[in-house]
Symmetry: D3
Subunit: 171 residues, 6 copies
């Protein structure tokens, strides 16, 4: 079932429900941003691994804006899917939906894009299958992925320069 040349978006689709526990919250009883980001990364990683059938490492997370807060006792629903593949890397679209179990009401809390790189056991990059977008939404995200990728590559220059400046300053 692995090693295929092309895969649909739905084949990588991953869904996680997490009940917000006291240990996930700050002293105000609301879910901490960092805990949610941990869950988001795990959900995105499963989508990336489902698409690539290899190991996958987080390379970039685009800006995350949290809309409102999530309370202890609510459920967080995470949904991730690969939007497009670029030879050895994949863009994953992810959204976070909070659910109030007392009322059944749901609301969007965050949505962002990740890029993951596919690697083998030694960390060398590996090619990944192409993505076949099917619905209108999938096709739009597929097209726009190109532009988001350019923005990331530009930004990657900045951080690499910073890393080199850091190296120089050590000695």
């Amino acid at each position: 079932m692995g090693n295929r040349k092309r895969k649909t978006v739905d084949e990588s689709r991953s869904v996680m429900h997490r009940l917000v526990m006291p240990e996930d919250s700050n002293t105000l009883g609301t879910l901490m941003g960092g805990v949610l980001m941990h869950w988001m990364d795990m959900c995105a990683a499963i989508a990336a691994r489902r698409h690539s059938n290899t190991y996958a490492m987080t390379v970039t997370v685009d800006r995350i804006q949290f809309v409102g807060s999530v309370r202890v006792g609510e459920v967080v629903n995470l949904e991730a899917e690969v939007t497009r593949a670029f030879r050895t890397s994949m863009e994953i679209g992810l959204r976070v939906i909070a659910e109030n179990l007392d009322t059944g009401e749901k609301r969007l809390c965050a949505s962002t894009f990740y890029s993951f790189v596919a690697v083998d056991r030694d960390g060398s990059t590996l090619p990944v299958p192409e993505v076949i977008p099917e619905t209108d939404g999938q096709k739009k995200r597929y097209r726009d992925a190109e532009e988001r990728r350019s923005a990331r590559l530009e930004d990657a220059g900045r951080i690499r320069e910073e890393a080199e400046a850091f190296d120089r300053q050590q000695f």
Copy 2:
């Protein structure tokens, strides 16, 4: 000591060392992005709370690019400081430095900016002290914070629209 009108950047500076444990890593023995993002958020939150002396909630995380990977047994050093305050919100600059304990070598892994909002126990926003930048680096980050903030506000429009579209589609 709390409730002051202005504070230096150094007063909010927060430092965390974390030894990377097997439970923090994926099957390749490298630190998972999501675990690191959890630590980053906690370090940024401490800086925000030190500056505001109130509760603080994560509102935005700018794009994060990971440079290289961190292995089990290495130490991650996190450094955060408030770069600028905007009435009830704060921008926090954060960088992540990996350290190899066998060789003593250090390298920059990531750097990004967070925005936090100061709130009271009921979640109502509260004004925060102004920031006094002192060094050249602090002054540059203070100046540039304005532009980063505009980019965030623009992006906030997009996610709020998405959230409203999500609400409509539910019914």
Copy 3:
């Protein structure tokens, strides 16, 4: 949206993906039964709370047989749904499917039934909506729930006697 008299099975359906981490495994690198049972209970609890829109507490777990083992790096997919309601209690059917991310292959690992009771904040029992089974599978599980419930009630006598014997022997 809450407080409805009748709900379909699909409205309570809950899905969780969990990546098996080293901390979830024993020294053989396979998922520990107890960790999996913890995840199963959380997934079943979300289904119960979605159906009842109240608090829900685990009362019974029927026999669980594990088919084969799950390895670190595989994904566990949990699926739960309310099969039938009995005034203040609900039966939840749950199955566990392991997924090999290298090959995409999936296999059934376990399936069992839980009963949960709906309670308010003080722990008093509350009535729950009736269940409307729609598919053939849902209708079969709905019918058979009666018999499984009888078996549980019979068994409940045994444990209550044991508890009383324990009380007497203390003094």
Copy 4:
């Protein structure tokens, strides 16, 4: 001390005390069923490993009925012992006793039986020592183990059929 042909029940007896912490509880402040099942499995596994002096994997957990609930701040006492061995598998009897530290009062919360299989590092099954029951209770549980085992084997047929049906339906 290992590799013996026969062992008493007492040699495998395992005892665990766990203080119920907020992180172990749901929003009602009572111990979650899934957390307790995790602890139960660990306690049973230690008894199985003590008897077999090999690795041991959970194969079956019989029905668990929870009597009442356990609150944060109470102690859970778990007691497990091997009741009988069947060539490469062992039945473990386990009971859970809650203890109120303010009053010293104890009460039985659950009791069930596990079966574990003894395996070597590669997962191949290994023979285990026979069990020598000594007290009247131990002798009764030893005798009844035969019948419980038959019930499990019958049930094992059902789940194996389900697993095969799941396999067929995938292709």
Copy 5:
């Protein structure tokens, strides 16, 4: 059962078995000292709470020397009991025994003394029952507790001075 004037040592005796997991170990596969100290404190706290039937807070831990190391897959057995009470405080004796599950062999890893103070919900100290030592070992530990207590009180002076010096230096 609570509120008694005198209690035997055995009434407070607490036993915990913990299977050492990868997450409890450092990169060498041996149990980390800090994880073990966490378990030791929980076991001692249960003994203290059993004796006092109130809340109990750790005040002092005497020197801990670790004899050898404990490996992943071994079991740690912790045993704690109140050795003597001093109005509102208790001394708890604790020892740690490692057990190799492959051979059944056990070895002493550490032994030390804790002092806990009994407090009510607001943190005010409360009187605790006296201790009745019964065996020769219990009687010896009861007698020697006096001397250990003097050493602790002397040491308490040092740390309190340090704390005050720290306060002064802040302003």
Copy 6:
């Protein structure tokens, strides 16, 4: 950068900030001693590994006296540094400072000394660099380390005798 013959105290200096979460606290809402000791050990271990550039295992923790208690929502600041080296072992000085984020006030909670031994991957001891004390405080701690070491060696005799007595009594 590793393998040097002598190192200053500052080169091993390690700092950790930890926000006290509900999961770190007992039912009174104060930080549990055992959780704090876990953090202390990790901070001391990082200092030891920074000085030795090898693996390091906790051998001894001197008496710890807790001054006052730390509440959920406060920050714990841990500071550790190698005070002196003895061929294959190191003494680490560590202090714990609690910080109230609402007022900015800090207070000393505990201070103690650890000894760690440097080992290679197989657990064999390794020589460590000498320590160069620079400030008056560092020089005092360097001098006094000799005496603290004698006290530890004396105490080590006691625990080793206990361990041997334990061995004998098993057979």
